[in-house]
């Protein structure tokens, strides 16, 4: 530009980018705002509320399961309906609660943390949210069709699933729609992160949450076709005369296990990597120290993602794989403990000699750290082939994955909500209620799931509505814990609603140690449009 005195450049070359906080133009009012919105904050909010609703729904099913298992004998449900409860509980929690919650976080935080005005494809973003609604209706609606909901477990194993009624078709369609939504979300997130970072925001300056989502989106794109293919083959086996998994027609039911778990194990990391990202932002904020070993955290996340492709066999040590195959999957699984250990070490090193305070997000983050590590250790136990052959399909497995996904993924989600709610809503939550929520969750969760290790070690199988008398006492305690944990989430719901409606005004930088762009560059509450021109990151 030859004429300097009145030259203004917007976009990448802008040098006064962070002064856009004077937005007096809010969103349109009414239902159409939510129906047609392309604003990443609105869509993030809808994802989070949807996920919370599904969490309550899946949680209600879990409480039904625990009520049935409170004492031996059949109390409330027939065995078929009990199996439907365990199946739909799993599907709802995985695809309806945990994954949408993390996509909600991605929608809220990715543009803010990379200094972008919105997602790369805002209309597709709107679509990927609204696809969730028909999928959820199909899943829940399957309870009301003849034969009841799918009862094969969330893994939808054939041949059982091939013999069931129309509810399986509804479940398959729901899984397809949820997959399409995830893929659209992932493409949007990847395109946004790679192309729309603010000037100066190099890859190695991105907050860990953004990094974990970049890798998660990559994993999703890589493995979602596998799930889509697997459930399509189930569908064609059911209705179009193919025999992919039907032994009577020359097919192989074991192939479904291989295919499903080739998707299923990366899926576990899809549900936990964004949690790592959230925790990696909360711990430094409350330790008032930078994250220890940032680069090693990035490499550890990438290593976990890569290794997740070669460990699927540890879910099927009992199907009769050759010993060499079992050994390979055992060692590969144990290898994952190395990058995971790097992460746990770095989180502890971040807190070491930090000026820590223990507000609710920090409590949940520390809760995550302790309990997820227990889940990781029980995973190592299950990785040992001879041990797994004994513990396979017992409550030990149930305890293991709930320590990973509830006290792992869910605790991180709750920690993240408490951490960013003041920024999102402009209001501060009630700290007392937050701490009560934490302690009840902590006690309730451990009471519910720790005894399940003992039950599994004693030989109690999973997915049964009745059990032998020797399992009665721990089951009773487990059910009491589940109800404490479940009802304590209502405190969370109340706290969030009360905060939004009448919370005290929050400060611009509510947490002293928070240092990502949304805290350092944006006012509280945030304007509807942010980073209209990208900030310069130094």
């Amino acid at each position: 530009m030859s004429t300097a005195s009145h030259t203004h450049v917007s976009g990448a070359l802008d040098d006064h980018g962070h002064a856009e906080a004077h937005d007096h133009h809010g969103p349109p009012a009414g239902f159409t705002r939510w129906m047609y919105t392309t604003n990443h904050k609105d869509i993030g909010t809808m994802y989070l509320w949807f996920a919370f609703f599904m969490f309550l729904l899946g949680g209600t099913m879990a409480l039904g399961i625990r009520a049935e298992l409170f004492k031996p004998g059949l109390q409330f449900f027939d065995p078929e309906f009990f199996n439907s409860l365990t199946t739909v509980h799993g599907l709802v929690m995985v695809f309806g609660a945990i994954m949408p919650a993390f996509v909600g976080f991605a929608n809220w935080l990715v543009p803010l943390q990379i200094g972008s005005a919105d997602m790369a494809f805002p209309r597709m973003n709107n679509w990927s949210f609204w696809l969730l609604i028909p999928a959820a209706l199909l899943l829940i609606g399957s309870f009301f069709v003849p034969g009841g909901a799918a009862a094969s477990g969330w893994t939808l194993y054939p041949p059982l699933v091939i013999q069931q009624g129309i509810s399986v078709d509804m479940t398959i369609l729901a899984v397809h729609i949820l997959g399409a939504s995830s893929i659209m979300g992932s493409i949007n997130i990847i395109t946004t992160i790679l192309n729309m970072r603010a000037p100066g925001m190099t890859l190695m300056k991105m907050p860990l949450f953004v990094w974990t989502w970049l890798i998660t989106a990559y994993l999703l794109i890589a493995v979602m076709p596998v799930l889509a293919g697997a459930v399509t083959m189930l569908l064609t086996d059911r209705h179009f005369g193919t025999s992919f998994f039907n032994a009577a027609g020359g097919g192989d039911p074991t192939m479904f296990l291989h295919i499903f778990w080739f998707f299923g194990h990366p899926e576990v990391y899809i549900m936990i990597l964004p949690a790592f990202g959230i925790i990696s932002q909360i711990l430094p904020a409350f330790a008032r120290k930078p994250l220890f070993g940032y680069a090693s955290m990035v490499y550890a996340t990438a290593s976990i993602a890569i290794l997740s492709f070669i460990v699927w066999g540890h879910h099927m040590f009992t199907v009769g794989m050759p010993a060499a195959g079992n050994l390979f999957f055992m060692y590969a699984t144990m290898l994952i403990a190395v990058p995971t250990g790097v992460k746990v070490f770095n989180w502890i090193a971040t807190m070491w000699k930090g000026e820590m305070t223990f507000e609710t997000p920090m409590l949940f983050a520390i809760g995550f750290l302790c309990l997820f590590t227990i889940g990781g250790f029980s995973g190592l136990v299950l990785a040992i082939v001879p041990v797994d052959i004994t513990l396979h399909n017992t409550y030990y497995v149930v305890a293991h994955f709930h320590y990973v996904l509830v006290s792992g993924a869910l605790f991180a989600i709750i920690a993240g909500i408490y951490f960013w709610l003041p920024k999102w809503s402009g209001k501060m939550y009630n700290e007392g209620l937050g701490k009560l929520h934490f302690w009840l969750s902590m006690i309730g969760f451990n009471l519910a799931f720790f005894p399940q290790h003992f039950l599994g070690l004693a030989g109690m199988p999973r997915r049964i509505p009745d059990y032998a008398l020797q399992f009665a006492e721990w089951n009773m305690w487990s059910s009491i814990g589940a109800f404490i944990f479940g009802f304590s989430q209502l405190i969370f719901l109340y706290n969030v609603i009360a905060t939004i409606r009448s919370g005290k005004p929050a400060e611009q930088k509510q947490w002293e140690g928070a240092d990502s762009l949304e805290w350092t560059h944006l006012p509280t509450p945030m304007p509807y449009h942010t980073f209209v021109t990208p900030p310069i990151v130094r």
């Binding site: 450049v9 990448a12 856009e20 990379i114 790369a120 494809f121 603010a198 293919g229 449009h529 209209v532």
Partner: protein, 155 residues
């Protein structure tokens, strides 16, 4: 005899923000395609061929998304307000448009519809869009900046 001193022209130049270069884009897409199609091929080998169409469709979608971004890499919009003329030059994907207006007769039209704000430069019965690469708030700021330099009308 005296020397006429004219103030320098006002120039507003906007470009889309891009943080990934062509090489990075190629590397990423290659990595993505190799991983996803590689997994698809593996599925075909074990007899689970229905995985492949999904993998192919997904890779195509990712390529299309990045193609949409790439199409607009060279986009820009340049507004120059000189002593006598107003020039708007704009590139949108493949098409390049130029618009020249006589400054005293040109005016900027600001249209507010709820949260939406659009800008246009009107002259001699024609209107061209302004601020295409900017957000609503950015366009509002631009309109404020233009007041005093050129006629601005709110509609």
């Amino acid at each position: 005899m005296f020397l006429e001193v004219e103030s320098p022209p006002y120039i507003h130049h906007s470009v889309p923000n891009r943080s990934l270069g062509p090489a990075g884009r190629r590397i990423f897409l290659a990595l993505m395609a190799v991983t996803t199609l590689g997994i698809g091929m593996l599925a075909v080998v074990v007899g689970a061929w229905p995985v492949m169409p999904f993998a192919g469709a997904e890779v195509a979608l990712v390529f299309f998304a990045f193609h949409l971004v790439r199409l607009h890499d060279a986009d820009f919009e340049r507004l120059e307000i000189g002593p006598h003329e107003v020039r708007v030059e704009s590139r949108d994907a493949e098409s390049l448009t130029r618009f020249v207006a006589h400054r005293p007769w040109a005016r900027v039209i600001v249209r507010e519809r709820g949260a939406r704000c659009t800008l246009g430069l009107a002259y001699a019965g024609r209107t061209v869009q302004l601020g295409r690469l900017m957000s609503d708030e950015g366009r509002r700021k631009l309109a404020e900046e233009l007041r005093g330099r050129i006629a601005v009308t709110a509609k």
